[in-house]
């Protein structure tokens, strides 16, 4: 039996929360927004060809695993990450690492997670949580979405680690092995900001970053005519449902990023970042307005309460403000 002294803290976004909590265990304290910012977690992409639950996929953050990997790399932390073909091997390795006294981050699918509220049990494979011990067939879990620590059986854990479908976790596990005692986070912050700015405005692909938001806005205007009111409302609902942030359409990510910029302003002693963090906060409000008004169209079938043109305009406003924000952020110097 192993039960590490792991402090459970709730978080807005599972992977940055896991990253921050894992590092906290290794006596290195960075906040969840800091982990999100340094790991360059903010993103946008609209993938009309990748259907999930019969509707196009929208994503408000980078690919799973990137936040932890980038944050570890930028901060000079030694970390390991493994995937396994064989589920049994994946579980053996997990036990081995826990026996060494290291808590482990896992990528899992949420459909069979027994402690999840039933209404959230969809096939979503990009969830992250920490295992901090086991006793026979019971594993001790810290899931940033849950209020308290939880437990899961060996069989269930193996099952969620081998969930299938888009972004299948394939038993992915990751953990820091060595954290330097003194870390200067300033260069990592700057690199993280530059990376995010580049992701948002520097990639010449129409469906990612700010261009992706505009693309979605254009597509949305045609939904009602092309798909009929019912399906249009379902597609819209899907945009709002996507990612672990159900119902916020990425507003929460924008809020976390704003908090990161605010913290960065203090750490780097650059006041202009504070103004930008406020702009980002107001941008988060705009995304929330979009999701709030958009959700009215998903209430009942038939007549939409808000026109899709109106919602598309709101999206354009989000795109414009993000363009301005990242244009400025791209110029950051140490």
């Amino acid at each position: 039996m192993v039960k590490l002294d792991f402090e459970h803290r709730q978080a807005g976004h599972c992977e940055s929360g896991v990253t921050s909590n894992l590092l906290h265990y290794h006596k290195f304290d960075i906040s969840e927004p800091m982990a999100f910012g340094i790991g360059a977690g903010l993103f946008f992409s609209y993938l009309p060809f990748l259907k999930m639950q019969h509707a196009p996929t929208t994503s408000f953050r980078v690919w799973p695993g990137m936040v932890f990997e980038r944050a570890a790399k930028e901060l000079g932390i030694t970390a390991e990450s493994h995937r396994f073909r064989n589920p049994k091997a994946a579980m053996d390795k997990l036990n081995e690492i826990l026996d060494k006294g290291l808590p482990v981050g896992l990528q899992v699918g949420t459909f069979h997670l027994p402690f999840f509220p039933p209404e959230y049990r969809m096939h979503y494979n990009m969830h992250n949580m920490v295992v901090y011990g086991y006793d026979g067939d019971t594993y001790f879990i810290s899931d940033t979405l849950m209020e308290n620590k939880v437990e899961i059986s060996y069989a269930d854990l193996m099952r969620v680690r081998y969930a299938k479908g888009a972004f299948a976790p394939q038993g992915k596990m990751y953990f820091p092995t060595h954290v330097p005692r003194e870390i200067d986070i300033r260069p990592s912050i700057i690199k993280g900001i530059r990376k995010t700015a580049n992701n948002m405005i520097g990639i010449p692909v129409p469906i990612v970053g700010v261009k992706g938001i505009r693309y979605l806005s254009r597509a949305m205007r045609k939904w009602e005519k092309k798909l009929g009111p019912e399906k249009a409302s379902y597609y819209l609902g899907q945009v709002l449902r996507m990612e672990e942030e159900v119902g916020t359409a990425g507003a929460g990510f924008r809020f976390i990023y704003g908090a990161f910029l605010n913290e960065a302003a203090q750490v780097l002693n650059q006041d202009w970042l504070k103004d930008i963090s406020y702009e980002m906060g107001e941008n988060a409000n705009r995304w929330r307005e979009f999701s709030y008004k958009g959700s009215r169209n998903c209430k009942k079938r038939g007549k939409p309460e808000e026109s899709y043109d109106f919602l598309a305009d709101l999206l354009l406003a989000c795109a414009d403000s993000e363009y301005k924000i990242f244009k400025k952020l791209a110029t950051i110097r140490g």
Binding site: G12, P33, Q53, H54, F111, E119, Y120, M122, H123, K164, G165, A166, A168, S233, Y234, G237, Q238, L240, R241, E245, V246, G247, T248, A251, G252, F255, G258, A259, N262, S277, Y278, G281, E282, A284, N285, R288, E289, S291, Y292, G294, S295, R296, C298, K299
Partner: protein, 117 residues
């Protein structure tokens, strides 16, 4: 609608994820799923599709995902949706389907449960 951010409080406030619009869109997704399941149930009862199609939909799966769980090529899983093919399915494959759908093999092959709903 409560805004997430205002300049006075900065970023100190906690984000409330459990808001009203959240409930609405979750409801929508489950309603749509229930609708799809019902449509397929009718088709299975009419003998147009096999129970595999019904249980797949009920578990919110799609062919690529089910094929991955079954460790079979997609075209074979698709073929198993045909009642004529399903009837001749090897017991070993039936058991695998039953395991994934968390039902007994008897329940999987009979349409009794589908009739009752």
């Amino acid at each position: 609608m409560t805004p997430l951010f205002d300049r006075e409080h900065g970023f100190t406030r906690k984000v409330d994820y459990q808001n009203n619009s959240n409930q609405v869109i979750i409801r929508q997704s489950w309603d749509a799923a229930a609708q799809r399941v019902e449509a397929i149930r009718q088709q299975v009862l009419a003998g147009e599709l096999s129970p595999v199609a019904y249980y797949m939909e009920k578990h919110l799966m799609e062919v690529p995902m089910l094929a991955a769980y079954m460790e079979l090529p997609k075209w074979r899983v698709k073929r198993h949706m045909k009642p004529s093919v399903f009837r001749r399915l090897r017991p070993e494959l039936l058991a695998r389907y039953a395991g994934i759908f968390e039902v007994g093999v008897d329940q999987l092959v009979s349409t009794d449960e589908l009739n009752q709903q």
